[in-house]
């Protein structure tokens, strides 16, 4: 591919509002295959998404069904008939680890994506408003951001979840609100760099309303760096969710989560029941790793100059 091609592609990809054309997708795919790791990440995320979407169909057992006779079975234990009934073993209540793992994908993904969406939406709107108008509005919004950054985030989340009580909605809201600052800072900087450009002037001259200029004219042009941040952000939100579930501040214990499974595994640690702690941890690690790898790839792909290897 000549450098001419790349430039053309980039102009195509960013100038149009309608989303990248097919050629852009093909370029993305080729760059992923060349990298190797991004494909690995994509495959894992497709798998996790599949598990999250079709959990009930995929899971071999009911994840909450307790079976006292079959408790604490090691992975790949054969039953009397010589068949492996529990591929990844069972926990202290005789629940199937594999099924709980599959159901757990749902919470991690849903919480991760929703929280990032909420945080992203709040942050982008506030950041763009701050950057576009400047002045005291900018000052107020950015001071708020400073205050929030001064709080170690997990501690803030712990304090509010202890008070409000655990639950999916509270969890998503708090994790989401925790993320807005990152997006606001970037959206603000980008908006400042775009607001005097000709195409924005043109929209203004045509009499477009402020909200139309902000969200229909400027937003599509600053979305690329925000997407990169979002990918890394999903990774860190999933880690935070797991940590909070581990502390018992996540979703109610009847819902299987990876963090919750790890918390329960602690009681079995000294007895050497390694499988209870290993599998949920691997699931979290692979998912988070995939989002990090994709974030790295996306950053290099969208802006080769920024890349660590570029």
């Amino acid at each position: 591919m000549s450098s001419q091609d790349i430039e053309e592609d980039e102009v195509d990809g960013f100038a149009e509002d309608a989303g990248p054309p097919r050629r852009e997708w093909r370029r993305a795919w080729r760059s992923m295959v060349r990298g190797g790791w991004p494909i690995f990440a994509l495959l894992i995320l497709v798998g996790v998404t599949f598990a999250a979407a079709f959990g009930p169909e995929l899971a071999p057992k009911d994840p909450n069904r307790q079976n006292i006779i079959a408790r604490l079975k090691e992975p790949l234990t054969e039953n009397r008939a010589g068949k492996v009934e529990y591929v990844l073993g069972t926990d202290a209540l005789g629940r199937d680890v594999l099924s709980r793992l599959i159901y757990g994908a749902r919470i991690s993904l849903v919480v991760g994506l929703t929280a990032v969406f909420i945080g992203g939406a709040i942050g982008i709107v506030l950041g763009m408003v701050a950057g576009y108008f400047g002045g005291w509005i900018d000052d107020v919004i950015m001071r708020l951001a400073d205050i929030q950054l001064a709080f170690p985030f997990i501690l803030l989340a712990i304090m509010f979840l202890v008070v409000l009580g655990p639950g999916v909605v509270n969890l998503v809201l708090i994790l989401g609100i925790g993320q807005w600052v990152t997006y606001a800072r970037i959206a603000r900087g980008q908006t400042i760099s775009q607001r005097e450009k000709d195409y924005v002037e043109a929209a203004r001259a045509l009499g477009a309303s402020t909200s139309s200029i902000l969200f229909r004219t400027i937003l599509p042009n600053i979305l690329a760096p925000l997407t990169v941040i979002a990918s890394f952000n999903v990774a860190s939100v999933i880690l935070a969710e797991a940590a909070l579930s581990f502390l018992g501040l996540g979703v109610p214990p009847t819902v299987p989560t990876w963090g919750g499974m790890l918390a329960e595994s602690r009681d079995q640690l000294l007895a050497g029941r390694w499988w209870l702690a290993t599998f949920p941890g691997v699931a979290i690690m692979l998912t988070v790793l995939s989002f990090n790898i994709l974030g790295d790839w996306l950053r290099d792909f969208l802006d080769p100059r920024l890349g660590e290897n570029g």
């Binding site: 001064a150 501690l155 008070v163 990090n292």
Partner: protein, 325 residues
């Protein structure tokens, strides 16, 4: 310089007011806090009496001002589970947490520099690839899981390191028994290794990537080329010229880093039964001891704000570009 200091001080005061406002709001959101202080069988009159005595019947702004005035005098309220002042309970555990975070910080910063430099010098070769792959994996491992795995395989499996326990170093020193504290160091180290590494791994990985990319940037600059051109040994080019510039971005992050590591202690101290503030918070969460959680969060935030202030001031003093702005 003075304008900068004053502006930075005002900023810190605003942030601290924000911290108190947020933690006050959090307590109010728990519903009527009176119920936290009376027994479950209390009659309506008793509850009303307690509410009046504790001041929860007054307007919010009066309550908030009282709350701040009390904080200023070191009165953080009483822990519900310990029935003693919450501040005393937190401060009692603080030295153990500082020991852990400080060691983690040393690992996260001084471990990252050689790794990042090595990766940058062998850019594109297997060493670089290995270090960077490990770094991205290190950023993806949940710390509490790493702790559990270390306990399971290094502690229980191999039996190399103790899986829980703590020998105090900082506490005897703070109490004036400096020698005793120092003599405890050799005994304390084995207990520190696994929990400190568990807290540090994420930062260590991130810093290694940061050092590498800022090293690559510095290595391509003119003064490095000049140093090489005048025939300086490569080792001296790296240590005297490049590294000095490359680790500035890491130094700026020390303040934030500390706060980040502090947030890690809740989970990691719980796993390793470390007798610090983190495990205290975990237990307080389970007992719904809200005043105690609140005290710990406020203290952590204060430490965090002051540390960031100190780092910024030292940095401004070192870097004339900020000082003269």
């Amino acid at each position: 310089m003075w304008t900068y200091i004053v502006r930075r001080l005002i900023q810190s005061v605003i942030v601290i007011i924000g911290v108190t406002l947020i933690s006050f709001t959090a307590l109010q959101m728990s519903g009527d806090p009176t119920y936290l202080y009376v027994s479950e069988r209390a009659s309506d009159e008793e509850i009303a009496l307690a509410r009046q005595k504790l001041g929860f019947d007054r307007p919010y702004y009066v309550q908030y001002l009282t709350f701040v005035a009390n904080l200023a005098q070191g009165d953080f309220g009483e822990s519900l589970s310990y029935r003693t002042p919450a501040l005393d309970v937190v401060l009692e555990r603080f030295p153990a947490t500082i020991e852990l975070t400080a060691v983690a910080m040393v690992i996260a910063i001084f471990g990252a520099i050689p790794l990042g430099v090595m990766a940058a010098r062998r850019r594109g070769r297997p060493t670089d690839g290995t270090i960077m792959t490990l770094a991205i994996i290190g950023q993806s491992i949940p710390s509490f899981w790493l702790g559990i795995m270390l306990i399971l395989f290094v502690g229980l499996g191999l039996g190399w390191l103790p899986i829980s326990g703590h020998v105090p170093v900082l506490k005897p020193i703070l109490e004036g028994h400096v020698l005793e504290g120092l003599r405890n160091i050799p005994a304390a180290v084995p207990y520190l290794i696994m929990p400190a590494f568990t807290i540090a791994l994420f930062s260590l990985s991130r810093n290694a990537r940061l050092v590498r990319s800022s090293m690559l940037e510095v290595l391509s600059q003119d003064f490095v080329r000049t140093a090489r051109a005048k025939g300086l040994a490569e080792r001296r080019v790296i240590s005297d010229h490049a590294l000095r510039n490359a680790w500035l971005p890491v130094v700026t992050m020390i303040g934030l880093e500390f706060g980040f590591l502090l947030s890690g202690v809740v989970v990691v101290e719980t796993i390793f039964s470390w007798p610090g503030v983190g495990r205290l918070v975990f237990n307080a969460i389970n007992q719904r001891d809200i005043p105690l959680v609140q005290t710990a969060v406020v203290i952590f935030s204060f430490v965090f704000v002051l540390l960031n202030l100190a780092v910024d001031l030292v940095y401004a003093w070192l870097d004339p570009r900020i000082r003269l702005r």
